[in-house]
């Protein structure tokens, strides 16, 4: 009788192990589609052209970490929504520039004549960790963007790298891995936006070129009389 019970328990254990392995091996996918708020700041008196490269708006991060299932995190739409809301609140006017004009000599001058600068954001790096890796209950997401800022003529003002970090507790009962990862990604996106909104004006090259441009009538401290 005891052997029969043990044999039965063994079968149950094998079944449980198989189910666990299947679950462990399941790939997980998240698409971040949240809306983002405009920043509550004084808009800078700049007219900015924004170019959203397709690599940013279609961004998908895929990673198969050790000790954890494979993850696919789709951030393309979230990138676009975040930057649109952010830049709309940061500048008095923004004009989206078609990617097609980037290498076109004909369309570019017409579009850019009234602009103070052109911004082209890109998402360079994504890292994340899940509880299986970190040993705590946190899902974390880390993003690194590059904000390329040029004059309308294409002269480099700055390549500004900024980061965003977000973490989300999975909760004692577990809110679902996908929900926790999505929330961590949203927090990271908001953090990146907050970083840009609050530090843009203090980036040296931006400050010098766009916010305090040298007065063409000034030369040192000597005032040159206008003709």
């Amino acid at each position: 009788m005891a052997i029969r019970i043990l044999r039965h328990i063994n079968h149950k254990l094998i079944t449980l192990c198989t189910i666990s392995l299947l679950l462990f091996g399941c790939a997980k996918s998240v698409e971040v589609l949240t809306q983002f708020p405009e920043p509550l700041i004084e808009p800078l008196p700049l007219v900015i052209g924004i170019r959203y490269p397709i690599e940013l708006t279609d961004f998908v991060h895929n990673e198969d970490p050790e000790l954890a299932p494979e993850w696919t995190i789709k951030l393309g739409q979230a990138n676009l929504r975040m930057f649109r809301a952010l830049f709309k609140g940061m500048f008095i006017q923004t004009i989206e520039i078609d990617n097609a004009t980037k290498d076109s000599e004909e369309a570019e001058p017409q579009t850019t004549t009234s602009l103070d600068a052109i911004i082209e954001p890109s998402l360079e790096e994504v890292e994340f960790s899940v509880p299986e890796q970190s040993g705590n209950q946190q899902f974390t997401v880390w993003l690194r963007y590059n904000i390329l800022i040029t004059t309308p003529e294409g002269k480099l003002i700055t390549n500004w790298r900024i980061t965003g970090y977000g973490q989300q507790d999975e909760g004692p009962m577990g809110m679902g891995d996908e929900t926790a990862m999505r929330k961590a990604a949203v927090t990271a996106l908001r953090d990146a936006a907050a970083n840009i909104a609050t530090t843009f004006s203090s980036v040296p090259n931006i400050k010098r070129t766009l916010l305090n441009p040298p007065n063409p009538f000034m030369k040192g401290t000597e005032i040159i009389a206008a003709p």
Binding site: E38, G171, M173
Partner: protein, 210 residues
């Protein structure tokens, strides 16, 4: 399966630094504290406090935390939130911030920090199947500590009016002789109930209504 309650000890402390009070048309916002500065309370704990504070006796109007964070974006994000009450005047001076707070009639911001953790445990419980039943033998136990603190900021005065802290210690036990009989100490739920009740009293029973 029977579910019975286990022994718990609860401690609630209140430090009041200023007078409080709230008008019927005014609201409060309850936010998890910043993970840069402390240990933010779990999302479900904050939700529990919100539910309890806006219901029952002495209930208060609780404004949506998400809406408030969006309205003040980017000033209540982890990297920009005031690190303490000293940073509040700077926040209130930022363009548009005071207006957004007044539009929503937010009188107090409550920052909730803390967590629930297992402090000890032991024993052994084994279960197996003996068709048609599941049979368990043994005894397992664990001790949880739920410790939370709510800091109350008065937005009309730009000051801290005090803190309420609660700690609940409880031991859960599951003895099993064929059938397991769990005695679960629901420390987090008890902490939520205690903190919420004290918070309502703290805010409502003030002497000053502005």
């Amino acid at each position: 399966m029977l579910l019975t309650s286990a022994c718990m000890t609860t401690n609630i402390e209140e430090v009041k630094d200023g007078s409080t009070g709230i008008l019927p048309e005014e609201s409060i916002v309850i936010l998890a504290s910043n993970y840069h500065t402390g240990n933010p309370a779990e999302e479900d704990f904050v939700e529990c406090v919100v539910d309890k504070v806006q219901s029952g006796r002495n209930k208060l109007n609780v404004h949506s935390a998400d809406e408030f964070r969006d309205a003040l974006f980017p000033w209540l994000e982890p990297r920009t939130t005031p690190q303490g009450i000293d940073g509040l005047p700077e926040l209130l001076k930022r363009p548009g911030v005071s207006d957004r707070i007044e539009e929503r009639a937010i009188r107090y911001i409550i920052w909730v920090a803390g967590d629930t953790e297992r402090t000890s445990g032991g024993g052994s419980l084994s279960c197996g199947t003996a068709p048609p039943a599941i049979v368990c033998f043994g005894l397992t136990w664990w001790e949880n500590l739920s410790a939370y603190e709510a800091a109350v900021w008065d937005m009309s005065e730009g000051i801290s009016t005090g803190t309420i802290s609660t700690s609940v210690n409880g031991t859960s036990v599951i003895p099993a002789l064929i059938l397991p009989v769990p005695f679960i100490a629901r420390t987090q739920a008890t902490a939520c109930k205690g903190l919420s009740k004290q918070l309502k009293t703290f805010i409502s029973s003030g002497t000053s209504l502005r």
